[in-house]
Symmetry: none
């Protein structure tokens, strides 16, 4: 009896390219952004294939998927190494990376209080920076 419910994906040039890019990727990226990055890096991969590989990798739990507020699918490697947020200037676009246990703890506690598990969150802070004020 050869129980082979998961036929192991082929190691194609395209899949390798997507996989490698995602491993070096910290932030969430949409399929289209990933496709663009691949083309700019010289790899010739069709958008369809990017979608299919991302979805396949998400199905195996290799990638994490969310919806952006704009409704696009966004992918990120599941093994989140360092999670952080952004402080963005509305005027000049200057961005500061923010980390801190306060929000992480708060978000997790709130979620658990409501019976939610596998908690993640997205936070962005906007303001006017000193140079633009």
């Amino acid at each position: 009896m050869t129980t082979d419910s998961t036929p192991a994906p082929r190691r194609t040039r395209q899949r390798a390219a997507v996989s490698e890019l995602m491993q070096n990727q910290e932030e969430f990226r949409t399929a289209q952004q990933i496709h663009d990055q691949l083309r700019q890096a010289g790899a010739s991969v069709g958008l369809t294939t990017v979608y299919r590989n991302l979805q396949a990798m998400a199905d195996t739990g290799e990638l994490d998927v969310i919806r952006t507020p704009e409704g696009e699918l966004s992918f990120r490697q599941c093994t989140t190494v360092q999670h952080h947020h952004h402080l963005v200037c509305r005027s000049c676009g200057r961005t500061v990376e923010i980390t801190g246990p306060t929000v992480e703890k708060w978000a997790n506690r709130i979620a658990e209080e409501h019976g939610f598990s596998e908690v993640s969150h997205e936070l962005e802070i906007f303001g006017t920076c000193a140079a633009c004020a």
Copy 2:
């Protein structure tokens, strides 16, 4: 000087129908569901108009908007008038409104430490709710 930044919307039959339906609506509903409900209730309202009215009402804070896991926009009358965040189930889309001074204070403090003013922020918490775990 008549400072009139918000020209007050007209009382049209269509807008009244959408508004009334939403007031008697507890759960989140997509634009298309709302449109269907209106047609079934006998009101003749175009889908475009439903979209435009829902968006207008959401802009004024009258309605609350989220994305379903399938990527559709969902609307509901806003229960809390104040600023709040969402705890969203990745699986079924169930949503809980979250408020709390912790994040508000933290975001403001962090921003000010970096010299930012006029601070605002956006936060969404994702997880798997008890029913879907």
